[in-house]
Symmetry: C2
Subunit: 280 residues, 2 copies
């Protein structure tokens, strides 16, 4: 009864993404971390040109000081304790302040490769969709699980962005694929099951401004992804202002930025605090 | 059965405040806005020397995009819709990440001059106390209400910081007192009912870096407050790096900084976002 409507909703969402890519000259940014979940900061970066936002449950765990975690690495260990209802509230709050135009894709418990059986009911997809999400940001590591997730997401008009990781990654953030040809193979499978955007994890997540150059093998894997699929492609993990140019050169459509921006925001807060303390 | 314990708890809390004042050479900062409620940022500023934090319900309304508010002025209109349970969660999260040392005073619905009858039960004071609050940050405008609030707060070991406003203020943030002698009179009454820290509202709240010089009458009112009471004094509203020196010169113990810091954090986020967008 609403399949056609939801296909329209998803088509509109993907148009936002393609428009953002075009508006920014062929490559755009997806902003996560504090810019994805703090409505004050989300609004600020949207005003300066960001068109794609990504609230997610580990970043919310960090933002809320859940269990006292103070790093994204630790936040990944307890992210499943953030409720889907909380993520729906976060999404609604961000949507409320940034308006309809920005594309918002949301990481929810159950949408990543979780360590306990987090159940995602149809009602959960419905809730995320009515809360203002355009899509779900996922990190499943198994094609069958991903296919199921895509099916229900699409039913409720949600796009799905999903990722490819490396078997030796510290965090399991995607379907494993080691060599460029493996990446191409997995990417094709993901596209076949209906994934709307496919990303490659660099393996450098949460290294922020400390993350170094982009290794050749990452460039080759990213190139394999970009040259294989028709859907928008993403690169995520440790991208900063120093190494972003190398990522751009691979032709990837969307650069995901989180920790590098969080780091700068924290540094700014610290600078102002010190300034106030020292004015006598 | 726990009155003595709770007096000890409150004494420890006030020691944190006096120690902060001494450590910073006679005057310290209380940091609110994003530094008070976002655990990531609270931790960052504590690491750079901030010792007093203030989460509050209007700032949380803004942070969460509640009803789509995008300014603190608008957030004040709907702040009572943020639940006390939410403020307890915020407090616990911040406490979790910053540890026991920083003094945390919390604005909760019912603790300000609310426009609907927000009921504060004893259980609410208990919850805030066990969630990690050292005190309650209040903006009552009536001495009798304040006295009641102080009594229950003290029972649960919570300090109370309360404020004096001007009758013509845009937001009602304290007991009204127009001339310096009125300020002295009201401050004495507040001290008599047991308020642990007394602040003066400048009437320039949320003007951020745009707030101008400090008018002479504000200096005189602040001087009246500082010279009348023995408890720590605060100045709040529109204090920025440009005008903070003038506030310091009044001898006030604690400078409250919120919007000026929020503005700089937002600016930093915007700068980084633009930088990423423009690197090709």
């Amino acid at each position: 009864m609403f399949n056609g409507d939801m296909e329209q909703k998803r088509t509109r969402a993907m148009k936002k993404v393609w428009d953002a890519i075009e508006d920014h000259g062929g490559q755009t940014l997806l902003s996560t971390g504090i810019t994805g979940d703090d409505a004050r900061i989300a609004k600020a970066v949207v005003e300066s040109g960001i068109k794609l936002l990504e609230p997610n449950h580990p970043a919310v765990a960090l933002a809320r000081g859940h269990k006292g975690v103070t790093s994204m690495h630790d936040a990944e260990m307890i992210r499943h304790e953030i409720s889907l209802q909380e993520m729906a509230k976060v999404t609604k709050g961000v949507r409320n302040t940034v308006g309809e135009e920005p594309f918002i894709t949301v990481g929810v418990p159950g949408g990543f490769t979780e360590v306990i059986p987090v159940v995602l009911e149809e009602a959960d997809f419905h809730l995320m969709s009515v809360s203002g999400a355009d899509g779900l940001h996922t990190h499943k590591s198994n094609l069958h699980d991903l296919e199921e997730l895509v099916k229900v997401s699409h039913k409720y008009g949600l796009t799905v962005d999903a990722y490819i990781g490396h078997p030796s990654d510290l965090h399991t953030f995607g379907l494993p694929a080691e060599m460029p040809e493996d990446v191409a193979h997995v990417a094709r499978q993901m596209e076949d099951v209906g994934v709307d955007m496919i990303g490659l994890m660099t393996g450098m997540s949460y290294e922020g401004v400390a993350a170094g150059d982009i290794p050749n093998i990452v460039k080759e894997r990213l190139h394999a992804l970009v040259s294989t699929v028709k859907v928008p492609t993403l690169a995520e993990g440790g991208i900063n202002t120093e190494n972003v140019k190398a990522f751009r050169d691979t032709g990837v459509h969307i650069i995901v930025v989180g920790t590098a921006l969080d780091d700068e925001v924290k540094r700014a807060a610290q600078q102002v605090a010190k300034q106030f303390i020292h004015i006598k």
